[in-house]
């Protein structure tokens, strides 16, 4: 028969599981097993911990896609106008502030509970930088092609323009990536704190 301590340990494990602290939940479950929890309870909880852990890992692994999606949609909306159309201050705020923060924050939240150091930053930077590469590359290539008779052409000038485009893309991606890193950290912290 399960005594009161065992019940408490099982309840604590359940709570830890609900909060996404899988290691703690497993530890408490082990304790409950030692305290004499029934095999049915142990098996059931163990299976749920494992399933939830897998689900979480999956979510973490795919957070980079989610972050990319958010940033991509954000930049897609920015695409509607060129930076001058938005006004440079507003555009800067949106392109290297709001959009990276939204995507980075999302990645950070999905990483909550993740204990691998730097994973959330890496994923946040990857997703936002990827979207920024698409956005800046797309926008500048359009401009380059419009500068050059409406179609990309081979030639020294076109090569220089493409080189400039590549440089712009890298720099813009770097800036957006850095912005997203900070946001992802905030996301992780807030989620941990709320937990």
């Amino acid at each position: 028969m399960e005594d009161e301590i065992t019940h408490k340990e099982l309840a604590a494990a359940e709570k830890a599981l609900a909060e996404g602290r899988y290691d703690a939940a497993q530890r408490l479950l082990n304790k409950a097993a030692e305290s004499g929890a029934t095999p049915r309870h142990i098996q059931d909880l163990h299976r749920r911990i494992r399933t939830e852990r897998v689900r979480h890992e999956f979510a973490v692994q795919n957070s980079v896609f989610g972050g990319f999606g958010i940033a991509f949609v954000g930049y897609l909306l920015l695409c509607i106008r060129q930076p001058l159309g938005w006004g440079i201050p507003l555009w800067l705020a949106l392109a290297v502030g709001v959009v990276p923060c939204a995507a980075g924050g999302y990645v950070g939240r999905r990483h909550a509970g993740e204990r691998e150091p730097g994973a959330s930053f890496r994923d946040g930077a990857k997703s936002v930088a990827g979207a920024m590469v698409c956005y800046s590359g797309f926008s500048t290539l359009i401009l380059v092609s419009r500068l050059q008779k409406g179609a990309l052409q081979l030639g020294e000038e076109a090569f220089a323009a493409l080189l400039t485009t590549a440089l712009l893309t890298i720099v813009a991606a770097g800036m957006a990536g850095v912005a997203s890193v900070a946001a992802s950290r905030i996301g992780v912290k807030r989620t941990d704190a709320s937990a």
Binding site: F58, V73, G85, S145, R146, A160, L167
Partner: protein
């Protein structure tokens, strides 16, 4: 050898011979309906090349080709003195002498023909050399057949060639068996022969699924090229093959030629050719390494891994069987299967049961999540597509950049661009189309025909010209303005002693020296040598800054000038028009300032300005991204300079429109009377040969360049006016002559186009009639389209070409008349 003759159509009144097809061992050989395409393409190119490079009597050897059809082609050719036909099949030779005699035109009975019934290998030993060797073998279907496609065989042939001799051989299809085709090319090269492959489309071959058929011309000494085929001149007429287009079949794409890098060489011992023929596509897989096995349910790599080892096995048979197996596997209910297996676990070892349980758990946890993710990702993708579409609808320039980039207030424009060949393309939609178009100022050659044919009225300048009023009137309304810049004028030269046009092209700036302020009115002041009070200042030199058209420039002070000749121009400022000479700051004569002309000039300037504004906007956007790199990237620095110059030009064009002014409303320009020819704005040559100038008060002043008649007064004609009119006459005459020359060249091109189109049309019609099927696909340019569509398109092109031809002819006629008038005027006033 199993020979089968399929009688397709009995003789009719129209066709006295039976149409039949020949099959050897089940393989299609020829259809009498189009066999000449094959045999002419095989024998005649090689004979023609040989004829060109090595005239004189020729000895020819034909290996295979027992049907006598290749022999027929050889005998048709002049200077073929001796032909040895070697075939190992007496049955085929018997057929050639009897049933095929009508179609091979009794070639076997020709005195020059010598028939040898033996193996070609045996015949080659000790034979005399030949000028041409034609190989017309059937496609190999077993290993022994590939001996006559081997390196050893071609080496033996090469040894039997006279110096300068050629080998012409049929090969296999480069379309359906490309690896085998390039294997043969490598084989020829391995035999130290220089090979030129080409392919020919033969309708009956295509019907049998053989695709375009390959041939090769090879030589030991000379490397023949596509150019040789292009220049080929065949002294005998072909009936079905079009040798003038043969060179097109010798063009292989880089991807096609790349197969030669991986294709093996066929030797007698190696037998590399047969597997390639039976298993097209395998070589690429071997060369490309293992296929991507991660792709779910992509069974093609598996199918291709099963080789075909017999001619009667087909890929379709293997695919059908494998699909059945794969279908069963695909439909398996794996969890249920595992459950069923586990139920019988008493017969399995505990380890296997454990593994199965793990597999089941894995599938429930991982695979289900994966499926969830897949479904989610599809939704995301769909959402993105919708978003992109909406973004494109809202702002095409920024989202996909395929919308029109119009010239501002005047809207986008679509330029009908005649290619001069078979089609007419319309730009103006799609990728940056509206940015394409004729440049604002140059309408030489074809453009002069297509854009202005029939619109010139009596204007005599064949180019787009403001110096001719009646053309300027229509030009402004119809001329497209290109908003993009191809020259480097705005980057490097603008404002530095050069005049730049809307395309960024630049030329040395012409300098105009005249009094500042506006010129008031009457010519009498000029004759009297008086100046108006407003002109009591030093004459100022002004450089042309912007070339608004061929002959209209905007100066650095914003004034607009229209160049009449190298030394004469018309100054348009403050609502006045003054005929000026480069040698004097005073006007030669004031001209009638037609309000409509001023309005058109203003429109033209506004239109070009809006183009410049649009172009500057693109550069501004670009610099918003890249401006910070200007300190270390010279190209971005140039972009910045260009933007600065464009912005300056926008202001100058603003100024020009303001300074242009509005002339006082007066009598409308009456236009040209019958028999009158316009020399430049406000100046006409009348029917009697006198020259009339339109005065500011609307009256006309006439001159014979000796005297000037104004109302009833007569003055001596100032020499400067006489010189100006003569230089204008010279220039316009020059323009007309170049216009006629350009139109004549256009006309010639159009006639050639029409001839080619007619030839195409005849071919399409004959194909349609031959097969009675309008959906039969034919080559149309680089596409294959139904013959009915090809006929329709060709007819459309023909109609268009005819219309253009008529317009060009009318244009030439009109220009010739004007030339006669001007010639007479030049003779009179010289």
């Amino acid at each position: 050898m199993n020979i089968f003759i399929d009688e397709l159509e009995p003789p009719t009144e129209a066709a006295t011979q039976t149409r039949f097809a020949l099959y050897i061992d089940g393989d299609f050989q020829f259809d009498t309906a189009d066999e000449k395409v094959y045999h002419e393409s095989l024998a005649l190119p090689a004979l023609s090349l040989l004829h060109a490079h090595k005239p004189g009597p020729k000895r020819v050897l034909i290996c295979g080709g027992g049907d006598g059809l290749a022999l027929r082609e050889c005998l048709r050719f002049p200077n073929v003195a001796h032909v040895d036909l070697v075939d190992y099949s007496p049955e085929m030779l018997e057929l050639a002498a009897t049933q095929f005699a009508a179609i091979n035109q009794h070639a076997l009975e020709d005195t020059r023909t010598h028939i040898h019934i033996c193996d070609a290998w045996d015949f080659l030993n000790g034979t005399l050399p030949y000028d041409l060797i034609v190989c017309d073998f059937t496609v190999p279907r077993k290993h022994e057949d590939t001996r006559v496609f081997s390196t050893e065989w071609f080496e033996a042939l090469s040894a039997c060639l006279n110096p300068g001799g050629i080998i012409a051989a049929n090969t296999v299809s480069p379309q359906t068996t490309p690896e085998a085709f390039w294997c043969l090319m490598n084989t020829l090269r391995a035999a130290n022969l220089k090979a030129l492959p080409y392919r020919v489309c033969i309708p009956s071959f295509r019907d049998h699924g053989y695709g375009a058929w390959g041939f090769v011309i090879a030589s030991r000494d000379k490397r023949f090229t596509t150019l040789d085929l292009k220049r080929i001149s065949c002294p005998v007429a072909t009936e079905q093959a079009d040798l003038s287009r043969l060179w097109r079949g010798a063009h292989f794409t880089r991807a096609e030629r790349a197969l030669a890098h991986t294709a093996p060489t066929n030797t007698i011992d190696g037998g590399e050719l047969l597997p390639l023929l039976l298993n097209p596509g395998l070589a690429g897989i071997e060369a490309g390494g293992l296929p991507d096995l991660d792709t779910p349910y992509d069974l093609n790599p598996l199918f291709n891994a099963i080789p075909i080892a017999h001619p009667y096995h087909t890929r379709a048979m293997i695919e059908t069987l494998a699909e059945q197996v794969a279908g069963s596997v695909r439909d398996l209910d794996i969890p249920r299967l595992i459950d069923a297996v586990i139920k019988r676990s008493s017969r399995l070892s505990s380890r296997i049961v454990d593994e199965l349980r793990k597999l089941k758990e894995f599938m429930q946890e991982r695979v289900l999540h994966f499926e969830l993710f897949s479904a989610w990702s599809y939704r995301l993708f769909a959402a993105l597509v919708i978003l992109m579409t909406l973004a494109n609808a809202i702002s095409p320039d920024n989202a996909f950049a395929k919308g029109s980039f119009s010239g501002g207030a005047h809207g986008g424009f679509s330029v009908s661009h005649s290619t001069g060949m078979h089609s007419s393309s319309s730009f103006g939609k799609g990728s940056f189309g509206a940015e394409s178009g004729s440049p604002g100022g140059s309408f030489a050659g074809r453009s002069s025909t297509s854009s202005f044919g029939g619109q010139r009225g009596s204007a005599i300048s064949p180019s787009r010209s403001f110096s001719s009023f009646s053309s300027s009137r229509s030009n402004v309304l119809s001329s497209p303005v290109s908003p993009h810049f191809t020259g480097t004028g705005f980057r490097t030269s603008y404002g530095r002693g050069t005049a730049v046009d809307i395309n960024g092209s630049y030329e040395r700036a012409r300098v105009y020296n005249y009094w500042g302020g506006s010129y008031g009115h009457p010519y009498t002041q000029v004759y009297g040598g008086q100046r108006q009070p407003a002109q009591q200042q030093q004459p100022q030199p002004h450089e042309a800054l912007f070339l608004a058209s061929d002959d209209m420039s905007v100066l650095d002070n914003g004034d607009v000038v229209v160049n009449v000749s190298e030394s004469v121009y018309i100054l348009l400022t403050n609502g006045t028009a003054a005929l000026m000479s480069a040698g004097s700051p005073d006007p030669i004569v004031m001209l009638y300032p037609d309000p409509e002309l001023f309005a058109n000039v203003r429109d033209q300037l506004a239109q070009q300005q809006s183009s410049v504004v649009a172009a500057a906007s693109v550069r501004r956007d670009w610099l918003a991204w890249s401006g910070w790199t200007a300190s270390f990237l010279p190209t971005v620095r140039s972009d910045r300079d260009e933007l600065r110059n464009l912005t300056d030009l926008i202001h100058r064009l603003d100024l020009a429109q303001q300074r242009l002014g509005t002339p006082p409303a007066g009598n409308a320009n009456p236009g040209l009377k019958p028999g009158e020819t316009e020399l430049f704005i406000g100046c006409v040559i009348r029917q009697d040969g006198t020259i009339a100038l339109h005065e500011p008060d609307g009256r006309w002043l006439s001159t014979d360049l000796v005297t000037i008649k104004h109302n009833t007064d007569t003055h001596p004609c100032p020499p400067v006016l006489a010189t100006a009119v003569r230089s204008a006459l010279d220039r316009v005459l020059r323009d007309i002559k170049s216009g006629i020359k350009a139109d004549t060249a256009d006309l010639q091109q159009l006639r050639m186009d029409a001839s080619e189109l007619n030839s195409d049309m005849n071919q399409y019609v004959s194909i349609r009639d031959m097969y009675g099927d309008s959906s039969y696909e034919v080559d149309y340019g680089t596409d294959e389209i139904p013959v009915s569509e090809a006929i329709f398109k060709t007819r459309q092109n023909l109609n268009q070409t005819e219309t253009e031809t008529r317009a060009t002819e009318a244009d030439i006629e009109k220009l010739t008349t004007q030339q006669a008038v001007l010639d007479a005027a030049v003779a009179r006033y010289r």
